[in-house]
């Protein structure tokens, strides 16, 4: 055993480049896998921490459903509920600060105003200060400002901040008593929050209600019991209850897509890594067939030969796994750093290294390597001493068998890897995607040997007019051994396929986001407001009167409670949607349904909501409004509706919204310009809108951060694919170099027979270019196919696949370019070849 180990080490050291490449392959697979697992853990931890940041020691959050909020009566009922120890009410509103004299024209940046009861709040929330002192228990016009706001607006302890309030109260100045330390979980999207005593906040915005109340239970209090008694006691307004556990689960669910994508990338990396390992080990055995034959002749048993190859594999696996674990943690740290500043749904705020993940990565890395080594090991043991000594190995048959084995290894790795994935059992849809793509890549690997011959001939034909001699020599060698060519191009085509698939999915996702909005918004631009704008405000007419503006359609987004669950809803003008040709109904008659919304008593449901609630067309949607239940007839079901804060909105008419559901006004105005007038009208509209505190925004802004986070996510994935591409490039250098070394005698003869140095160089480079082009063609084909599968499994219906032409061109050019660059060194070897040595010795 020890002697075999020494021999195994020797063979690894003798071929440093190949050894390093195999280790790199293992490390890549393990690294991406571990990074994915670390990111998963990070997402989980972040969900928990975000909730903790928001809720502090709160056991239960009671939130108002309507803009009118929770009344004092409700708060009183809450406080007297048995088991409740602390009730910390909060009022949250967006408002504008009054711009200082130095600031420029235009609207100032809005802030989020939070009114709190300092005493109760302190029991549940930590609000660490960077400077100054906390709010006085007595209240008054005192404020704490967030660190970001203080920096941006030049505020300091002792200064003042003046905030706009309701029309009745007018602006009001607050003395700044403290600056909050910069901690995550600021309620304002830009971190611009102002905390003031509840009373001051209420009188500023002109209300006596609150947005929510955080509840702390008495020691030994039971959440379920409290919830049950609240249902009996809190009857004046609709409300929602959430526990920290609920919120964590919801946050985790919102990252499901991201996790599925991470799993997909991990699967692909594992596939690429396994391919590289298998390829190099198989080649090593084929190349050393002679040595092995000699060892067999000298008395080594079949078993010893198998063990010899497996020992080499263990050495490679140890090095690869160790490197991979380190690289994976590094990669995860990088991604975490990249995603932290943005926060939001995809925010990952801390690096959590799950020991189980490291173990899983190590086991899979070892498993894949040993599995990949098994076939070469068995094959090596079957080399007969005689065959090796007479150098008559049937290479082609060997490679065929290899390809069959490769299939098995991949199938096992794929299924095992995905089955072990944390949470794989929960969401079968998330798992379907990686599995589908994995299977497809496997298919491509299997059919590619049949494709490389014809493709190589085809691509070579392009080079024929320029390099006739080299082309003819290249064609004969490439086409003659398609299995080998397929193995050579395999890693590259897989990497390119991943690149193209990701590009296509990114483009399609982006297209879906835009297509969705153009389909449902009756306008080409929108104006947004941070406060509800009542439809009878006189200035609205000014907007519509701007020359070039054809129509202004108000949209009010709010939430309703249906069967105890929160649903996004939007008030729309049905006639505008009808006239503008928006909204595609999958069920119901558009011409009847849209006017029915305006008439009242009707709603249009997004297909997803209709499915979930099991309400058919013509059915009734029971919405809790105040103390009573409003029944809305379902007059239509739409594939897609206006996006709300956490899903698609139920559409209702303005009459119902304002008169029965408590909506105060619109927060979005869709603007349709007269044909050809968009540019001048946009300019003319801007000042009018600003005067009403309306901000022009693009349609995509309505869908929230979808666009931005998609871009960031795919930029990251593309970077990972690029890493795979680099490893594939190294793989090509390896195989091309091996090609040259194996063919030293051939090249020597060709040189002796009159092939010039330049021709020898071009021969190798042309070979590489043809291989690269073949890999690119196969990779692009496979990538488009994979993208179509992913998009079909992910995107909604009716979205056509956008192949992402940029990534296709990149893959074609990059594939050929990479191969040619990779061939530089082997081509130099070929050109520098000493003919005399090459032809002389065996």
């Amino acid at each position: 055993m020890r002697a075999l180990d020494a021999l195994a080490r020797r063979t690894l050291v003798a071929r440093p480049l190949r050894t390093i490449l195999t280790i790199a392959g293992i490390a890549l697979g393990v690294g991406v896998l571990v990074a994915a697992l670390v990111l998963n853990a990070g997402l989980d931890a972040t969900a928990e921490r975000s909730v903790r940041d928001q809720l502090g020691r709160t056991d239960l959050r009671v939130a108002a459903f309507e803009e009118r909020g929770l009344s004092a009566a409700s708060l009183g009922a809450l406080a007297t509920t048995p088991g409740v120890a602390i009730v910390a009410p909060e009022l949250e509103r967006r408002t504008y600060p009054v711009a200082g004299p130095g600031s420029g024209a235009g609207l100032p940046v809005p802030v989020t105003l939070v009114g709190i009861d300092p005493a109760a709040d302190a029991a549940l929330h930590d609000r660490p200060l960077a400077a100054g002192s906390p709010l006085p228990l007595a209240g008054g016009d005192v404020a704490l400002v967030s660190d970001a706001l203080a920096r941006a607006d030049g505020l300091a302890v002792g200064g003042t901040i003046t905030l706009n309030g309701s029309a009745a109260s007018g602006p009001r100045a607050f003395r700044i008593s403290g600056v909050l330390a910069a901690v995550p979980g600021d309620p304002d999207p830009a971190g611009r929050s102002v905390i003031v005593p509840l009373g001051a906040a209420q009188s500023l915005v002109g209300t006596d209600s609150v947005s929510r109340a955080d509840v702390g239970l008495a020691p030994g209090g039971d959440v379920t019991a409290v919830i049950a008694s609240l249902e009996r006691r809190l009857t004046s307004e609709p409300y929602t209850l959430s526990t920290p556990g609920d919120l964590i689960a919801a946050l985790r669910a919102s990252t499901a897509d991201f996790r599925a994508t991470i799993a997909l990338v991990a699967a692909l990396a594992l596939f690429g890594g396994a391919f590289l390992i298998f390829n190099t080990l198989a080649m090593t055995v084929a190349e050393r067939a002679r040595d092995i034959g000699l060892l067999r002749a000298a008395g080594m048993t079949r078993r010893q030969v198998t063990v010899l190859v497996l020992i080499s594999a263990v050495h490679l696996a140890v090095a690869g796994v160790v490197l991979g674990l380190a690289a994976g943690i590094g990669l995860a740290a990088l991604v975490t750093a990249l995603f932290t500043p943005g926060g939001g749904v995809l925010g990952i705020r801390e690096l959590v290294i799950p020991p189980a993940g490291l173990v899983l990565g190590a086991i899979l890395g070892f498993g894949v390597t040993i599995a990949a080594a098994l076939e070469p090991a068995l094959r090596a043991s079957r080399i007969s001493p005689v065959a090796a000594l007479t150098a008559r190995l049937e290479q082609t048959a060997v490679l065929r068998a290899r390809l069959r084995w490769l299939t098995l290894v991949f199938a096992v790795v794929g299924v095992a890897g995905l089955a072990l994935w944390p949470g794989a059992g929960e969401g079968s849809a998330g798992l379907a995607r990686p599995l589908a793509v994995y299977g497809m890549l496997l298919g491509v690997t299997l059919v590619s040997p049949f494709l490389v011959g014809p493709l190589g001939t085809l691509v070579g034909a392009l080079a024929r007019p320029f390099l006739p001699v080299e082309e003819r020599l290249t064609r004969s060698t490439l086409v003659r051994d398609p299995s080998r060519t397929a193995l050579t191009v395999g890693a590259l085509s897989v990497a390119l396929a991943v690149l193209v698939a990701l590009g296509g999915v990114a483009a399609t996702t982006r297209r879906a986001a835009t297509a969705w909005l153009t389909d449902v918004i009756p306008g080409e631009a929108v104006l947004t407001s941070i406060r509800p704008v009542a439809l009878d405000e006189p200035q609205l007419a000014d907007l519509a009167a701007v020359p070039g503006v054809a129509r202004i359609s108000p949209i009010g987004r709010f939430a309703v409670s249906v069967g105890g669950r929160r649903l996004d809803a939007a008030a729309v003008v049905g006639a505008d949607l009808l006239a503008d040709g928006r909204l595609v109904l999958s069920e119901g008659d558009r011409a009847g349904a849209l006017p029915a919304l305006d008439a009242g008593g009707a709603a249009i449901l997004p297909a997803a909501v209709a499915d979930r609630l099991g309400i058919p067309l013509g059915g009734s949607l029971q919405v809790l409004a105040g103390r009573e239940i409003v029944a809305l007839r379902v007059v239509g079901i739409a594939a897609r509706t206006i996006p709300g804060s956490s899903g698609e909105a139920v559409l209702v008419g303005w009459r119902d919204a304002t008169q029965r559901l408590g909506v105060l006004g619109a927060d979005v105005f869709a603007v349709r310009y007269a044909p050809g007038q968009a540019a001048p009208a946009t300019a003319a509209l801007a000042p009018v809108a600003r005067a009403m505190a309306l901000e022009p925004a693009s349609l995509e802004a309505l869908a929230g951060t979808i666009g931005a986070s998609v871009d960031r996510l795919f930029a990251l994935l593309t970077a990972l694919a690029a890493v795979a591409l680099i490893v594939a490039g190294l793989g090509i250098v390896n195989t091309l170099t091996m090609n040259v070394l194996e063919r030293v005698r051939e090249l020597g003869f060709l040189r002796a027979a009159g092939l010039t140095r330049r021709q020898a160089r071009r021969l190798v480079m042309l070979e590489a270019a043809v291989l690269g082009a073949v890999a690119a063609i196969i990779g692009v084909g496979a990538g488009v196919l994979a993208g179509v599968i992913l998009a079909a499994l992910g995107a909604g219906p009716g979205v056509t696949y956008d192949p992402g032409w940029g990534s296709i061109v990149l893959a074609l050019v990059g594939g050929v370019g990479l191969a040619v660059v990779a061939s530089a060194w082997p081509a130099t070897l070929a050109a520098r070849l000493e003919i005399v040595r090459a032809v002389q010795y065996e």
Partner: protein, 250 residues
């Protein structure tokens, strides 16, 4: 008639470790067009090195080699390569066939390298004729590993002959073959010279092979030790050569 090959005080020095080894030292000779010349000598005496120098595969450390009027030892690598392509054909001890290519494609390689398509027309006829001349018709589609050693060497010979180069250079072409297959190769080389008018330079350590030559150089330690003139004979009997070698004490 001008000589087709001329070596002028040719030395090839190799640096081995810290010392120098002269594989060929101070060799001067001429070979006339149409001659059959053999180099004999023990292993390591510099025969192969000299053959490589004469064929323009290698460059002398000092001295000059003139191939068909061109100072091949002073040409650029490209020019020397083109000269080889046009004037020479090599046969090696280890056949050096390309394993992936068929017999036909291996033989057609010199045309391929010269940029001619050997699937049609005159080149195709030449390939067919070359294969026929080594009795390999019918094996065009075989791959080298499906042939016996003798057949493989005949493929290599056909490849060297296919473009009728003026100079054929063969390094131990029979070294890996048994007696009767070796004889077939030598017979074919002799007829190229005798009937085809090509010049043949043969390196061998075997007197029976060297006996095909008109002239035999005996090498020792990198130098030409003796020259034995046999003249052109139809029978190739080695008796006379062996006797002359014995006279020289070899």
């Amino acid at each position: 008639m001008p000589p087709i090959l001329e070596a002028r005080d040719v030395t090839r020095r190799y640096r081995v470790g810290s010392g120098d080894v002269d594989a060929v030292r101070g060799v001067s000779l001429t070979v006339d067009a149409g001659e059959f010349v053999a180099f004999m000598g023990p292993s390591g005496s510099g025969k192969s090195t000299l053959l490589h120098l004469l064929g323009g595969l290698d460059r002398p450390t000092s001295g000059d080699v003139v191939l068909d009027g061109e100072l091949v030892s002073r040409l650029s690598d490209d020019a020397a390569t083109r000269l080889r392509r046009e004037k020479t054909g090599f046969v090696f001890q280890f056949f050096n066939l390309i394993p992936l290519l068929s017999v036909w494609e291996n033989v057609a390689l010199p045309f391929t390298i010269a940029g001619e398509d050997a699937r049609h027309g005159e080149p195709a006829d030449a390939v067919r004729a070359a294969l026929a001349s080594v009795d390999l018709d019918g094996k065009e589609r075989h791959r080298p590993d499906q042939l016996s050693a003798g057949e493989q060497q005949r493929v290599a010979l056909a490849r060297a002959l296919v473009r009728h180069p003026a100079l054929l250079l063969a390094d131990e072409p029979t070294g890996n073959l048994d007696f009767s297959t070796g004889t077939e190769i030598l017979d074919r080389l002799w007829s190229s010279c005798h009937e085809g008018g090509q010049t043949v330079v043969l390196v061998t350590h075997d007197a029976k092979a060297a006996a095909y030559a008109d002239r035999v150089y005996v090498m020792h330690d990198g130098s030409l030790r003796d020259e034995i003139r046999l003249g052109r004979r139809e029978d190739h009997g080695a008796g006379q050569l062996i006797a002359r070698l014995a006279d020289l004490g070899l």
